[in-house]
């Protein structure tokens, strides 16, 4: 364990933790819901921990502790910064973004509300409420980063404060608090199972003092997570502590590109297990999916091949120089973009199911918006004349549902990022409604998508992802009545995606083009790579099929315009490489799409993983 950041600065933060006994029934329920048999110890105590770095970044951890064990096992962690949540996930914490608001109470304590980060208007959907939090006095505030340099701001937040430790921090017997977590990712040989490894994450506590007064936690709504076994109810936390915490070096952002390939470093030291019970659904089902798609034809340009290859390069993780000596075979194939066509799709998922599980009213995982960049890829043998295995690959994707983001990244290899979807009148909720209304704004009236890297008080630092200008009338419900008889059905979608002339490279021209064009638009194969965050677990190709039912599609008339953000420092910090590569393909920043190059579709969708 290290108590210092890479630059030698102490990474100090304040913490508070409260503990209370679990009832036998609740303890058994948590044990039954835990991930693998290896973890099936009977917990005795519930631990709630709050960490504050003094810069508006909060962590709230719900953990359990077994009899005779000093380590905590976190059931769920909430963070108010995307970067930190990603780091927690890398370390094996089931973590998700949340808006965390601290409200001072009359007795001098704080009440923390953990809620839906992108909820708009009214009372946000609260997931967890912690009462009676008492933090020690704050250390000196760090020097503020340049407000224009979002990258530097985010780095500083991730490293917590670099201020000298306070007197309270330096005194008192240090104490190590250990978390025992499972790092997991889809198994390379069978992505519906997982590879996992138990990891220990230690934090050094100083100035720890027991608090006279206890606290309580209200667990209100946590979807189907392991912690859901404990709700809904209020748990007393009579034993409370507070102090300062030195965060371990592993909590800081990972080293940049060029680090050792985790697949080689970690091969063989892992165990295999079925998926986490909460994520074990065979597939995911979505109904009432509304789609606006944009077909971006790059065919006439010679300068795009390298950029497109760069976008799909994550699929070629197997081309590692040491792979041949590690039994990876000749690695004599490479995934390549099949056509000089990109597709951007804006989607609204009306209802989302895990397997066959009906979404509960008020549950967090019910609906969402999604913006994705999609391309068709094929596998080309090094010396082969023909590509094979056409599949869709999504190198960049934005959603406004943090649970979808977590599951998509963990299980399906979609590199999802959180974003807010707005109409001209302001932000929309997950269902597409404006505050105080029940009627969703038509999807075609979404005009802006932007990132939200931090949540809670004073959310800041987001960057634009995409601006949309669709012609008047494209949001008209009567559109469907017009287009269905003329151009409706799967055929329209097929034509809107690829045509024979798109396959210009020799390996993709003939039989591959035939295969690709012959693919049923209602059953599209897909391939993604997991893990998406470079955690120290082997990479896997996650293949599946996107199955569309009850599809209606058509191409409305008019010109659509897409506005891409500038590729500046803020974009570099917050947008995925593929999205920035897209921007570089259009230096003027605007994509103009005429009739026939964009489409509307409605369907039900299922995502079925492929075994092995």
């Amino acid at each position: 364990m290290s108590g210092a950041a890479a630059d030698g600065a102490v990474t100090a933060a304040r913490f508070w933790s409260g503990e209370g006994a679990l009832t036998p029934a609740a303890a058994a329920a948590v044990r039954d819901a835990t991930r693998t048999a290896a973890d099936a110890v009977l917990p005795r105590r519930l631990v709630v921990e709050v960490v504050d770095d003094g810069d508006g970044a909060w962590l709230v951890l719900l953990a359990t502790q077994a009899e005779g064990e000093d380590a905590h096992r976190a059931l769920i962690a909430f963070g108010s910064r995307c970067v930190r949540v990603d780091r927690l996930r890398q370390l094996g914490f089931m973590a998700t973004e949340a808006a965390i608001r601290a409200q001072p109470q009359a007795d001098g304590s704080l009440q923390l509300e953990v809620s839906d980060p992108l909820c708009i208007g009214g009372v946000p959907a609260c997931w967890v409420r912690v009462h009676g939090v008492r933090l020690p006095p704050a250390a000196e505030a760090p020097a503020a980063a340049d407000p224009g340099d979002v990258d530097a701001q985010e780095r500083q937040r991730s490293a917590f404060t670099t201020a000298p430790p306070s007197a309270a921090f330096a005194t008192g017997a240090p104490r190590i608090q250990r978390h025992r977590q499972l790092q997991a990712a889809p198994a390379p040989e069978d992505p519906i199972r997982q590879v996992e490894r138990e990891v220990q994450v230690d934090t050094l506590r100083r100035g720890v003092q027991p608090l006279g007064r206890g606290a309580a936690v209200d667990l209100l709504n946590l979807g189907a997570l392991e912690a859901a076994a404990l709700l809904p109810r209020t748990w007393a936390l009579p034993d409370a502590l507070c102090g300062h915490v030195e965060l371990p070096a592993q909590w800081l952002p990972p080293p940049g590109p060029g680090a050792a390939d985790p697949a080689i470093a970690w091969a063989g030291a892992l165990r295999r297990a079925p998926r986490v019970p909460m994520l074990a659904a065979a597939g995911y089902r979505f109904t009432n999916v509304d789609i606006v798609g944009f077909r971006i034809d790059l065919g006439g340009r010679d300068d795009v091949a390298a950029t497109l290859q760069q976008m799909v390069e994550p699929l070629n993780f197997h081309r590692h120089p040491q792979g041949r000596l590690s039994g990876w075979g000749t690695q004599a194939f490479r995934w390549r973009p099949a056509a000089r066509v990109l597709v951007i799709e804006l989607l609204r998922y009306g209802r989302m199911y895990w397997g066959e599980q009906e979404p509960q009213p008020g549950a967090p995982f019910t609906a969402q918006h999604e913006l994705l960049l999609r391309t068709l890829v094929g596998r080309v043998d090094d010396e082969g004349a023909q590509a094979r295995d056409p599949a869709l690959f999504v190198p960049a994707i934005f959603v406004d549902n943090p649970w979808s983001r977590m599951i998509g990244r963990e299980l399906q290899g979609f590199p999802k990022q959180l974003a807010r979807f707005c109409s001209a009148d302001g932000p929309l909720d997950l269902s597409g409604c404006r505050p105080g209304t029940q009627q969703p704004v038509p999807l075609a009236r979404v005009t802006r998508v932007h990132t939200e890297p931090c949540f809670g008080a004073g959310g800041r630092g987001g960057v634009d992802v995409l601006g949309l200008e669709l012609p008047p009338g494209s949001d008209d419900p009567a559109l469907w009545a017009d287009v269905r008889p003329l151009m409706g059905g799967a055929g329209a979608l097929r034509r809107a995606r690829w045509r024979q002339g798109d396959f210009t490279d020799p390996q993709f021209r003939r039989s591959f083009a035939g295969q690709a064009l012959g693919l049923d638009p209602a059953a599209m194969p897909s391939v993604q790579v997991s893990p998406v965050d470079g955690r120290a677990l082997p990479s896997a190709w996650v293949t599946g099929t996107m199955l569309f039912d009850r599809m209606e599609a058509g191409t409305p008339a008019g010109v659509a315009r897409l506005h891409l953000p500038r590729d500046d420092a803020a974009a570099r910090a917050q947008l995925p490489p593929a999205w920035r590569a897209l921007r570089r393909l259009f230096p003027e920043g605007t994509i103009v799409l005429s009739t026939g190059s964009w489409y509307r579709a409605r369907a039900d969708l299922r995502m079925e993983p492929t075994q092995g």
């Binding site: 198994a187 390379p188 040989e189 069978d190 590879v195 697949a263 091969a267 063989g268 295999r272 197997h318 792979g323 041949r324 000596l325 590690s326 039994g327 990876w328 075979g329 000749t330 690695q331 004599a332 194939f333 043998d381 090094d382 010396e383 082997p538 896997a540 075994q611 092995g612």
Partner: protein, 409 residues
């Protein structure tokens, strides 16, 4: 509990030979429990009765039955002897990797080998060993090449290899499966391997069938052999690449594989590119399949007892001088296939291997190759005759090309 070895396709010609040899090698109580597998119970039953072994009947197109069969407790290795391997190798290898079982097959089909090779990464991550071509082709040439390259590297750590040539003598009688494989390969171009001029990468390239020919002495004077799309070329590429990646060799310029042909076969191969489109016609294919079905399933015991087979390995240095010129005479290829594949299984069973041996491996990696060649009268080569017509010598790195040193049979 005894380790279980499942021989899938045990009802076929090669499968039966392997099963009988395995039963002789691992009698009851030897710590290995053999299982006979196949698609049809009726073809397995006589052999199961003869050898007193249990059977497992399942089809490879039934994913749940396949996964269920490979999930059997104690199953260590699956040996696939069921052709055509274009249909059987990939599903069985995929299921083996999913279920954490080692996989060994005796395919001779180069395209199948390359397709299954794509599983190397996931097998390595799963800790599973995959060995394709563990039969006579390509285990014999792979063992010879591994040993020869070791000796060359030991003699000169900066050795540069010009060409590696593997050549097979003609086979007297062949099985139906071999004919089907040969028929499929007629329509393909010949693969040869060339070293990248500036890196240590070995890349494959294609030549028209019948274009590349060379003379070899298989023991009865010079005979013409034509370059062929043999599996041995692909294992040789991996073995040579391994030596390059480990720094045992500095350079390999070319690898080629040949098979002895008579005049009729030469004509057929040279006409192959022209008639290939005709061979693709459905009627022709059906007629050939019918004709093949009328052939004997494979050579009989007497034919196999008489049949000896020659495998040549020639390695030149960068200037055309001969570094190695070996000839190995083996028993009949079908009988010897059983020996080599069981040697690979033995290597898997006996080796305490960790992740370093997981993944895609050539047959030689499962043998103690130095021991095999140190005492050829014992072990795998006990019924073989090895003739070394040139010992490794230091490569004349700066010497001018001296054609007089070339061995031109």
């Amino acid at each position: 509990m005894a380790n279980k070895v499942l021989i899938y396709g045990a009802g076929g010609f090669s499968g039966r030979l392997i099963a009988r040899a395995a039963a002789a090698r691992w009698p009851a109580g030897a710590g290995v429990q053999l299982l006979l597998g196949g698609r049809r119970a009726d073809t397995l039953a006589p052999l199961a009765q003869e050898l007193g072994l249990p059977t497992r009947v399942f089809a490879l197109d039934d994913a749940s039955a396949l996964d269920g069969a490979l999930a059997e407790l104690g199953l260590h290795t699956v040996v696939n002897a069921a052709g055509p391997f274009a249909d059987t190798a990939l599903p069985l290898a995929q299921a083996a990797v999913r279920r954490g079982r080692h996989y060994v097959d005796i395919t001779g089909e180069a395209d199948v080998y390359q397709r299954v090779d794509d599983l190397g990464y996931v097998a390595a991550q799963a800790g599973v060993t995959l060995v394709c071509g563990a039969g006579h082709s390509a285990a014999v040439s792979d063992l010879m090449l591994e040993q020869a390259l070791s000796e060359i590297a030991a003699a000169d750590a900066t050795a540069e290899v010009g060409s590696i040539r593997i050549a097979f003598g003609a086979v007297g009688a062949v099985s139906q499966g071999s004919v089907r494989t040969a028929w499929r390969s007629i329509r393909e171009q010949v693969v040869v391997v060339r070293g990248h001029p500036t890196t240590r990468e070995l890349r494959q390239t294609h030549l028209p069938t019948g274009q590349l020919e060379r003379c070899f002495d298989f023991g009865a004077g010079p005979r013409i052999a034509s370059a062929a799309n043999l599996l041995d070329l692909h294992t040789a590429r991996l073995t040579a690449q391994r030596a390059l990646d480990r720094g045992r060799l500095q350079r390999v310029r070319a690898i080629e594989a040949f098979i002895e042909v008579d005049d009729a076969a030469r004509l057929f191969l040279q006409m192959g590119p022209l008639v290939a489109p005709l061979l693709a016609l459905p009627g022709v294919g059906q007629a050939v399949r019918a004709a093949v079905a009328g052939l004997p399933e494979g050579p009989g015991a007497a034919e196999r007892a008489r049949g000896r087979h020659q495998v040549l390995l020639q390695i030149d240095d960068g200037c055309g001088g001969r570094l190695a010129d070996w000839r190995l005479e083996t028993p009949d290829p079908y009988d010897f296939t059983a020996e080599t594949v069981l040697g690979v299984v033995d290597g898997l069973l006996s080796r305490t291997h960790g992740p370093t041996l997981a993944g895609w491996r050539t047959p030689a990696e499962l043998f103690d190759v130095a021991a095999v060649f140190a005492q050829p009268q014992q072990g795998l080569l006990r019924d073989c005759r090895l003739q070394r017509r040139g010992l490794p010598v230091a490569a004349p790195r700066l010497a001018p090309r001296r054609t007089s040193r070339r061995v031109q049979p």
